[in-house]
């Protein structure tokens, strides 16, 4: 049983890895800083470790999908992230792909 749990956890992590990028891009259609982004993901049922979220934001920014700027809020400097124009285009493509995959999986698992 523990082996099965372990296996399920590994597969779950693999499954979530790609979808988290989609979730982050989707959530950043509205400008957010790390903490509020994480909160919104958690509220939507997609919790993510901070140690994974911040490097992911950096990578997406380096790929030109996000823009960021430092601004003061609540008496502290915070880095705000937002989807770039390129990011919006990629997000639209990825959502199309996501929906196609979802439809395929549904057809494969529900059909007799």
């Amino acid at each position: 049983m523990p082996i099965e749990d372990d296996l399920f956890e590994k597969l779950r992590v693999e499954l979530r890895r790609g979808s988290l990028i989609l979730a982050v891009l989707g959530a950043l259609r509205v400008e957010r800083y790390g903490y509020t982004l994480r909160q919104s993901l958690e509220d939507a049922g997609l919790p993510i470790e901070e140690s994974a979220l911040y490097p992911l934001l950096r990578r997406l920014e380096a790929q030109g999908l996000l823009t960021s700027e430092w601004r003061e809020e609540a008496k502290r400097n915070k880095r705000f992230y937002r989807l770039s124009a390129d990011g919006e285009a990629i997000l639209a493509q990825l959502l199309g792909e996501w929906n196609a995959i979802s439809d395929s999986i549904l057809r494969l698992t529900e059909g007799k």
Binding site: G34, Y35, E50, S51, Y54, R58, W70, K78, R79
Partner: protein
Amino acid sequence: MANLQERYLHAVRRALPVAKADDIVAELRDVLATRQEEREDALDRPLTNDETAAMLKDFGHPLVVAAQYRKQQWLIGPDVYPFYWFVMRIVVLVIVGVDIATGIARFLFGNEQPLAILAQTWGSLWMSLLVNVGVLTVIFAVLERTGFPAEHVRKWTPEQLPAVEDKQKSVWESAFEVAANVLAILWWIGLIHLPWTGGNSEFRMEPAPIFAQLYWPILALLAVRLVQNLADWVRPGWRLLRGTLAVATTLVGLGLVAVLYRAGPPWAVVTPLAMPAQQAADLANSVNLGLKIGIVAVGVIWTWQGVQTLWRLVQGKRSAA
């Protein structure tokens, strides 16, 4: 408490890329401060030192946190690993083959203690493995960074694969041949010394001048045979190259055998040091008789191997067609 957070951030900073360190640490400082405030609000009191430590531990080991910001997440990734493993197997098998063959040769023909040979072979084997595995890993880590094997994977075609009918040698047979060839080259160029070849305190044994005259042709033949063995092993689909090399090495090898046979005897010159002259002459006769038989045997074996290799290639080509 603040001190603990600063120590943590300092540890993360040390492992970050220098150019981005300030920016990343500033963001992490804000993240940790927010997390701390969140917990303090929930508890309605400041965090204790232990609670701060637990919070930082929960955030992750500084090296792990910093590593996630690096472009390179692994030394050898899944794209390069199959090629790394393929080459590693060949290198390891050749090293094991060379070291074991050297050890066996020293045991059979030398006058050293078997335990000493075993200990030295064991030590030399591990040292060779460590050095070669290390060097190979560094090479493939560099290839990983330069984008290999994307180009190779893009260029390969199914036609390059060996035909199913190709009778490939086993990995051990191929490794043994390559190892024996490497060993022969190292011996020929004088990098390894076989103890029975120079004589002992009673006599000195030297090769006849014909061997010096044939030094470069024999070295070239050994080198080409090494290429042939490697091609047989890792590129069985390269029929034309393998066939050409098989014919070339067989013909050149037989030519050299013929030249050697005509030049002798003696192929080995025995000079007595503390041995009666008659005994030295008898020894020379025995050694040269052995060499005569050996030269004829090599000629026969090479002819047989050459015919066999060509037969295999021709047969494989017919089947593939």
